[in-house]
Each structure stands twice: as structure tokens, then as C-alpha cells.
Symmetry: C2
Subunit: 210 residues, 2 copies
Amino acid sequence: MNEKPTPTRGRPKTLDRDQVLQAALMEYWSKGPRDVSISDICGLTGTSKPGVYREFGSDDGLKASVLETYHRLAILPLIDILEKDQSTIDAIDALISFMTQDRTNLGVPQGCLFVMMRAEAQQLGPSTCAKLHEVRRQLLDAYEAWITCSKSRGDFADIPTDVAALFMDAQHGGAMRMQREGVPNDTVVSVLGTALRMLVLGEKPDVITH
Amino acid sequence: MNEKPTPTRGRPKTLDRDQVLQAALMEYWSKGPRDVSISDICGLTGTSKPGVYREFGSDDGLKASVLETYHRLAILPLIDILEKDQSTIDAIDALISFMTQDRTNLGVPQGCLFVMMRAEAQQLGPSTCAKLHEVRRQLLDAYEAWITCSKSRGDFADIPTDVAALFMDAQHGGAMRMQREGVPNDTVVSVLGTALRMLVLGEKPDVITH
DNA sequence: ACCTTTTCGTACCTCTAATTACATTAAGCA
DNA sequence: TGCTTAATGTAATTAGAGGTACGAAAAGGT
């Protein structure tokens, strides 16, 4: 609906929206969304503060846009794993692999911006909070759909679907926090494996054979 | 070692250390440690800012002292449950009951200050961080001791002790966050029951019969 | 009474955050 | 060559944080 009509008049735009979004994403992700100021982002991108405000409206607007970017970058791939047609145990292994990818090699910070934002939601603006709830709901729905599907195959433990979804969400959050607290990746893999394999019928709670 | 010699000279002290600690505790706990300023606490307790600085040295000092208070109030009772001589399943039920107590009736905020501080550790001062690590270590040690003990009774699943301890810590954190996100208490009980009962040999992953 | 000790609290300092007023610049169009 | 449009960025504003300088107050000792 809001297609930019590419106006031919006026001074040409030099502010690179994507560059700002990328820089802000990495800063928020690595330092925490509340520990990065608009000025920081301006300094990093060589843009001016009014430029950022013109583009995003406010701190809240920028954070909401960054969360949307993060959603595409890191949450949708998670949901894709859940929606892919594969065995329950394969999905779990894929989830664990995805969550515990080697971040340093990927040039990506430890932890999860979505998880961090949820922890600091109290101090985020209304747009960011709304987006946060939306992403949370979408993720929980994806978990529930996946669980329902697994149950229909008879692979899944006898746990209420909503409870199991919250459990999985909690494990994801826990893993992301362990990552940030410096717990070794192998250990995070073990904890996640322990937690998630428990959900599968016929699986022993052994350490994942990665 | 630092026993106050109760000096008989000089203007008598009017600042009530415990009152400040209690007020700060409740504010940090309910609003998050980073969203409460020294001025807020002064306003709540009727003390002056220099008074607080004289007593606690700095923001960091106050937060560290509050964490110590919180440790006595809410972490040691948790550790006591682990150290009590009872069956594995009884301990788990006790843990779940303790974590999911009705906070509104107790006049105590939702969630856990220790968990919140860990999430914001990056921005806390050195004393608070040190205390945070100390409490974390103490809690993990208590989990590990309890797990070892349970294993020796043959009640516990075949999971490495350190991994199981991190798992339990993650469940605690997850439950505290769900509480703060407004998940109904019954649901939190179910999720915790699902998670922790999985650790017990011979228990079915049913919803807790509370 | 006066000195010493200890605590008190007002008023200030310094910084940094978010946000904006406004003059300027760079384009197309007449 | 101007006029219009739409973007630009410097420099300010406002608010609130952590922290402190310093003179006054309240006690005991002499």
C-alpha cells in the first residue's frame, strides 16, 4: 500500500535505510537494545540524528523496525524448521543445530535479540512491544502446530500442546541466555538435547551424538 | 570483622539502612533494577541522595547490597529445599510450589530479581556482577549436590550432573520470566512440572496433580 | 560555653539520552 | 534564472541520571 512513488523532485535521499537497520541490529544484538543510543547508531553509520528520526520516527520506531528485520533474519528460519516436513527427532536436531550455530564464524553476536527484547519489554516503546507480542504469538503458534503434527504421528509425549509450546519457548530462551553468559556451546547443545529429546517418545535422555 | 563500634560521639544516624534496602528491593524487583534510580529510592524512603551514597557508596554498591538481601530472602530458601533430606520427587514438587507461590497474596512482585539481574548483568557495576556470579555459582552447586544425591538413590535420569544443573537453572529462569510475562500460574506449574519431572526416573510426564 | 565528631540534606555539577528548530543544499521544473 | 520540493545536518532543548561540595545540625566531651 505504501509504495514509495520515487519522487523525482527535491534533494535526493542519501540516508541508507538498510545500512542503518543493519548497524542498529548488530549493535542491539551484541550490546542489548537498551544500551545503544540513537547517537551510537549515527556515529556508526555516518548519518545524522534528524536523518534517523525522519526515517524511523523515534527510538521506538527504529527498534520496532530492527525487530522486524531480526524476525526475518533469525525467527523465520526457526519457524521454517518447524514447518518443514521431517520427523520429530530430525526437527529437534535441526532446531538445536540452528540455535547453537557457531556465532563467531558467522560474524553474528551470541544470544537472541528477540529474547533480549522480551526481557526488557517493560522499557520498550509501544510499537516495539506490539511487534514483540506479534512475533511471540507467531512463534508459539508455530511450536503448537509442530507439536500437534508430531502428536498426530504418535512421536510426541503426552503433554498439553500449549504447555509443550511454552516449554520449547523456555528452552530456546534458556539456550540463548546460556550462550550470552558464556556457557560453552557443547554444554548448551547438551542441555537443549536433554530438554527437547525428552519430548519425543522412544528417545532416551542421552547427550546428543553430534 | 567490620563490626560497627556504635560511636557515641557525633550526630545520631537517622538513615534506616534496612528501610532503604527493603524499598530498593521491592522497586528493583517490580520494575527491574535498571529502571529505578537512586532518586526514586530517596523519594520512596524520604532519605537524601547523599545519605544513600554515604551508606552504600554508589549505585553499584546499593544494587549489590540489595542482591545480598534478595539472596537471603529468595535464593537461600530455594537452596534449603534442595538440601532438605527428602525424596527426589518431593523436592521437585517443593521447588515448583516455591517458585509458583501466589505472589499477589504475599505482597511480592512476580518474577525473580536474581534472574532479572542476570539478564541485565552487562550494565551492572562490578560489585553487583561479582555478587551475581557468587549467587549463581552457589545455586548451581546446590543443584549439582542435589542431583548427585538423587543419582545415588537411583531416582535420577542418566544426564551429566552439570548439564542437569544448568537445565534446572534454565527452568527456574524460564518460570520466572513466564510469570513476568503474565502466563497464568497454573500454566507455569504445568511447564515446570513437565520439565522437572522428566528428570525423575519412573515418573510419567503428566501434568502435576496439584 | 565551646570544641570535636559525625551525620544531615540542599543545591549543585557533569553527562548522556531523546528529540527538534531551523537554516542549508540539491535536485526538477517553468 | 529563479521557484518549488524534499531532503540534508548543525546546534540547540529538555529531561533525568549518577554523583558531590559544603554548610548546618546534633550529639558527646572538656
